[in-house]
Amino acid sequence: MQRHLINSLFQSILVLIGVLVMVFFMVRATGDPAAVMLAREASPEQVAAFREQMGFNRPLYIQFLDFIRKALMGDFGNSLHYRLPALPLILERMPYTVYLALVALVMAVVIALPLGLVGGASPNTPIDWIARAVGLLGQTVPPFWLALLLIYALAVNLRLFPTSGSERWNSVILPAFVLSLGTMGRLVRLTRSSVLEIMGDDYIRTARSKGLMPRVIFFKHALRNAAIPLITVIAVQFGYMLGGTVIIESVFSWPGLGSLTAESIGRRDFPLVQGIALFTSVVVVLLTFASDVLYALVDPRVRYE
């Protein structure tokens, strides 16, 4: 088990280093920040002064080393737009995104697991058809399009939900539902296929032949084994939700990290974009690591490897 954990820790660190390098250079590859951030009537002196002040005039590798040193201490620099330290700005938005992602995850799990389980346990029944349809649609319907459709149908025409924002208690439902769909689709398919596979396994046949009640077979034997890959997928999907809310948050004017990301990229707010990218990467890496640990705890085969 230790080897397993050390391995995954090592991988996590590698991923983070890769992210640092990519974030730093990719943001800079998109153009000259001074040209974008200053009014275009700015004099060459003003531009030079600005570059000097922001440190953009130093060689790239020095900027990079400086960036790493500060990032390790939690200092991502000041947002150019808000003129405030990036980290507190990110932390301020984080709860909204976590809340949205949690609600979405709950929706996905609550709808996907039963569908997948029943669909997998009794293939080619109407419920299985629904499970397969949800699995397909969830992964193929474009979220942006669906979001607008739902806003017009449920918010503008029926006035069941607010179109956008975060003020009301039910504001979260539409964005969470749209966000949950991709995960829902994936979970349904995965659950269904693992149950289907497990139900055909030898140990299930053994359990049946020794006369165990179907309920016991299903819950004690099939479900436990099916749960193992689900843990990893749910953890990864949660990470994906935290980072993948950009479009959904923008469409629903949800004040989370996603809309902050979209805005900051548009404004070339370097320090903030870097901060967000790093922050979300750390979160995703941590989640993956946590799922590895959990995996080991749930599945003895990993533990005793």
Binding site: R93, V118, I127, L158, P162, F252, S253, P255, S259, E263
Partner: protein
């Protein structure tokens, strides 16, 4: 397995029913509502803002909530830190300036009842309005004006430049204050009107950081809450010094980056004002009950420039007749119709409608024969070769505009290539005066006066438009030091005549802004720089 199956069957049946219901439901649009005629109201810069304070206060109670959807997140709610127009508008709900600019560009009183300009033009003495209170209950006096200037003229303030126009601000007595400049500066008063938000001495007892998060002013609305990336909420100031105002109880600014969401939200009645729509968005809202579309020309003048500083030197464009000819050669109305669906206004010059001293001139008509005649008169009966440049996608639909212009110039014999260049590189070359003899650009102003545009484009030292004309330069400098408003208006009149006879540009168009406003909103009148005052606005229910 039976009980389990039954359970899931029932559960999924419920799910199916719910899905089916949800799928059917949208078709049933509410029809019980009263359908009002949708109208297009064109706001022009003609109405004078009321600033008369009635002697007998009538009892009033602010009513209702006004919600405005913003396209960009408010980054700061102190005016000197607010980075763009929408944040500035939101911030101004909480503050007042000493002077107020009227829609015709003239100035009126605000926190100052009156002001006097010294004979040398370097000192303006303001008499302050008495009995004004800040939101924390403290009195507004000269000390607050002095403090505001000291606080906001610091280097660390984003827009300190608007405050450092004055070299010092001195208290004479509690209700008299002198604002002093090193040289007479005509832009001081209009700049003050749009930038000098007065704050209480010592940040009203807060730290500077606290003040930035929950500011105090004398304005019509009091800060209530600010959730970054989501909303800013302000409530009516019960002790506002403009009696009878504000008229709404609460204003909510909501950040809604996605245009489709703003359109949906205004249809659902969740927001009352949806600014910055495209003409397509606006069209999709025509016929929606309870929503009206307003459109107004924006104070941004698009122009075809001539470069007489580098590449155009010694070429035909130095002859005023040739430049006039090019103005006749371009069918701007045709371009507005074809490219903008008619949603733009012809530009008549750098002094735009609503700017101080605008003389209401007529645009140059499209007359290609006249253009050819003028070219022949100037000695170019067969035209000439000349290239033109355009900032690739640097402005909405600018590429289409440039292609049309290029084709039309070709018809009168001005042949050349159209160079489309990446916008940032283009502006860089423009600053370095490297563009070809003909090029297209645009310039906006935000203080209701044309001087910043004239100066930036044409003044020696800046000549951003790559054009230098000594006489014009002199006239612009004269305006800059003419502090008296009427004299300055007269100078603007002269410069408009001169710029028609010796055109440094072909004037193209002012774009139009579209906003959707619910019919419950009264008195909302955005100006040409997308600025507005909310104390006059009311909502009915």
């Amino acid at each position: 397995m039976r009980p389990l199956q039954t359970f899931w069957r029932v559960a999924s049946l419920i799910t199916i029913t719910a899905v089916v219901l949800a799928g059917c439901a949208p078709a049933a649009t509410p029809t019980a509502e009263v359908v009002r005629e949708t109208e297009i109201v064109t706001v022009r810069e003609t109405q004078i803002v009321e600033q008369v304070v009635t002697a007998t206060p009538e009892p009033f109670k602010p009513q209702g909530t006004l919600t405005i959807g913003l396209t960009t997140d408010i980054a700061a709610i102190e005016v000197p830190y607010a980075p763009e127009r929408q944040a500035t508008n939101a911030s101004w709900t909480m503050f007042d300036s000493l002077v107020l600019q009227n829609p015709d560009g003239s100035l009126g009183p605000a926190l100052a009842d009156s002001w006097e300009i010294s004979p040398d033009g370097k000192t303006i003495t303001f008499k302050l309005h008495q009995g004004v209170k800040f939101h924390d209950g403290s009195d507004f006096t000269a000390d607050d004006v002095v403090f505001s200037w000291e606080a906001y003229s610091q280097d660390t303030v984003t827009y300190a430049g608007n405050w450092t126009l004055a070299s010092s601000v001195e208290k004479v007595d509690d209700y008299t204050v002198n604002v002093i400049t090193d040289e007479p500066n005509a832009m001081l008063l209009p700049t003050m009107a749009w930038n000098w938000a007065i704050i209480p001495e010592d940040w009203g007892g807060k730290t500077q950081q606290e003040f930035a998060e929950s500011p105090i002013g004398t304005g019509p609305f009091v800060f209530k809450e600010w959730i970054k990336g989501d909303r800013l909420v302000v409530t009516a100031n019960p002790n506002y010094w403009r009696q009878g105002y504000p008229k709404v109880e609460q204003v909510v600014f909501r950040f809604m980056p996605e245009a489709a969401t703003r359109v949906a939200a205004v249809q659902a009645g969740e927001i009352d004002i949806a600014p910055r729509l495209t003409s397509e968005d606006a069209k999709s809202l025509l016929g929606v009950s309870g929503v009206q579309i307003i459109r107004y020309p924006v104070d941004r003048s698009y122009y075809l420039a001539f470069n007489n500083l580098s590449t155009g030197k010694g070429t035909p464009i130095e002859d005023p007749k040739v430049r006039q000819a090019l103005a006749y050669a371009i069918d701007i109305d045709g371009i507005i119709d074809a490219v903008f669906d008619g949603f733009a206004t012809r530009s008549v010059g750098f002094v735009a409608p609503g700017n101080l001293g605008f003389d209401g001139a007529e645009p140059v008509p499209y007359d290609p024969e006249r253009a050819k005649a003028l070219l022949a008169e100037a000695g170019y009966p067969n035209g000439f070769e000349m290239n033109m440049a355009c900032p690739d996608s640097g402005y909405p639909k600018i590429n289409d505009v440039c292609q049309a212009i290029s084709a039309q110039l070709n018809e009168v014999g001005v042949r050349g290539e159209l160079e489309l260049q990446e916008a940032n590189a283009y502006w860089d070359r423009e600053a370095k005066k490297e563009l070809p003899p003909l090029f297209v650009d645009a310039w906006s102003v935000t203080i209701g006066e044309a001087w910043p545009r004239l100066s930036g484009a044409l003044n020696e030292g800046e000549t951003y438009a790559n054009w230098y004309d000594a006489k014009l330069d002199e006239m612009i400098n004269q305006i800059a030091v003419t502090v008296d408003e009427e004299e300055r208006a007269a100078l603007y009149g002269e410069i408009q005549v001169y710029m028609r006879e010796n055109p440094p540009f072909v004037y193209l168009y002012y774009p139009e802004a579209f906003e959707a406003v619910t019919t419950r909103v009264q008195g909302y009148q955005p100006r040409a720089a997308e600025n507005y005052f909310l104390w006059e606005v009311s909502v009915t229910d």
